[in-house]
Symmetry: C2
Subunit: 308 residues, 2 copies
């Protein structure tokens, strides 16, 4: 069975949407990625850090889904990373109200011995120096390295980010970030420029408009499922990334054809994530529901043409 | 062979994009719709109005593509409808600089005798009262009636527009307009409400993000082809509508399965339209180019899943 190592934040989130608000609940990129990837029944582990205030039951929740948390450092006298955000009425944009880095500020990641031979590596959105530290601790290059990042690191730590980008296989960013990183408005041209920075595969996330997968000349478009209700978009991008790498790790097949299915899987899982607050929906999701919705993706996109 | 009647503007456009500008060139909804539909080799005719200033060579251009212009009234002492617009740098938005209705202000449409038995009717974007006048002049209901409209008519002539909407089969509008018309943010809910207003089929155009086709419980997503260059978006929506109804008219098959192909055809033709200024690309387009790009749409969206 393939091993998957995930580095990213494990955090407290407080979320406000037009439909309600939460106190501090379980959040963080690594949390969403691992919950999503765990749907594929693979051997996964997290590298992260939390404070002494982090409930053990949250880690147990992950362990119950066969997510190894040996790599989650607990700083007993520190506080867990906290993010508070409020979504606008259209749910397409949000204001960050609080970002308390806390124990994340001095985080030195340590890859556990039993994950140094990981086959798949997912670098979740956090400081590129931390992402690079993890890459360096893995002696043999994994089969596939996927990077998620955001505009904040492009604005503040671009040289460090570019070094990480040069070392990975797949980058996942949103359309605005692809434009910022490349300086190109056309996403086709943006993907070409980003290929030249290192990644053979460029995944551009467009939220409710789906995602594009570029591999040099090839393009694939995975739609987002049109939904009646979006309740809370928090974690949708991470859930997408977790579904993507989870599918890849389960199959072990890194062909472009299979990567198409991985993008669909990511889009599929993200469509569940937004249906409830926080991680709730991802913690209560059956294989039957996942398979049924995969079929909806098929119906949504497949057509026959007669070429004359 | 099916007959297709198109009502809409035939106009002069002056366009400015970041890549250049034009003087008065051939434009108008009916022009783009008919040029696009003419790719399907069907028997089509236009109902519209122009002034004495309108060059006969423009009408001949259309006739050469077997588009009947007997229904284009020429008001010798009047001036042709004129629109001038300037696109912003991202080409996703534009300012209208001039709208001179001219002969369009008093337009009373007259359906030519030989199109009163039309099988397909395309009501291009213009005053809903004109659209209704055309519907009334056709004694036997066509096989399929498609309506294109825009926010301007929702703002200014909503009661008249609602009467037209109640009488048609397919409505094509963009995402913002679907939200305005329905009062729903979710496009799934918006489509449901619009179904209740009359149309069995709702096509929601999302520009560079493609188009959604709704038919009660069914949804289909046609992506836009990711392009390296968009030169001039003018007429893309009309070209989409022309490709849609052109495909329907050619096949004569009004099933949902076939409508999927029609949406793809519309998206395919629109992808050409934006590559050059005005109608230039649509006037010089080969069947080989169209077929080749259809194949690209197939590659862009098709995937295999194994359901476990």
């Amino acid at each position: 069975m393939s091993k998957l190592l995930i580095v990213g934040t494990v955090a407290f989130d407080a979320i406000e949407t037009p439909f309600g608000k939460t106190d501090k609940i379980l959040g963080g990129a690594a949390t969403y990625i691992s919950l999503s990837a765990s749907q594929f029944g693979i051997n996964s582990g997290i590298v992260s850090v939390v404070g002494g205030d982090f409930p053990k039951k949250y880690l147990k929740k992950l362990n119950k889904r066969f997510i190894n948390t040996d790599g989650v450092e607990i700083v007993e006298n520190g506080k867990t990373f906290f993010w508070k955000g409020k979504y606008h009425n259209d749910l397409n944009s949000r204001d960050t109200l609080i970002t308390d880095l806390n124990v994340l500020a001095d985080f030195k990641p340590i890859v556990p011995e039993n994950f140094k031979d990981t086959d798949f590596l997912m670098l979740g959105n956090l400081h590129p120096t931390v992402q690079m530290e993890v890459i360096k601790q893995i002696p043999n290059r994994p089969k596939l390295v996927v990077l998620d990042t955001m505009n904040f690191w492009m604005d503040n730590t671009l040289p460090e980010l570019m070094e990480v980008i040069a070392k990975i296989d797949v980058i996942t960013i949103n359309d605005e970030e692809a434009r910022q990183l490349s300086g190109e408005y056309s996403l086709v041209k943006a993907a070409q420029k980003i290929h030249n920075m290192g990644p053979k595969y460029v995944v551009i996330k467009k939220g409710e408009h789906g995602a594009l997968l570029f591999n040099n000349g090839n393009v694939f478009y995975a739609p987002a499922l049109p939904l009646e209700e979006v309740f809370d978009p928090t974690g949708a991008g991470d859930t997408f990334a977790g579904g993507f790498i989870g599918h890849m790790a389960k199959s072990g097949d890194i062909s472009f054809e299979n990567m198409k299915r991985a993008v669909i899987s990511g889009s599929n899982l993200a469509s569940f994530c937004v249906e409830k607050f926080g991680t709730e929906r991802m913690e209560n999701l059956s294989q039957e529901e996942i398979q049924k919705r995969l079929l909806q993706f098929k119906l949504l996109t497949q057509f026959e043409i007669e070429l004359s």
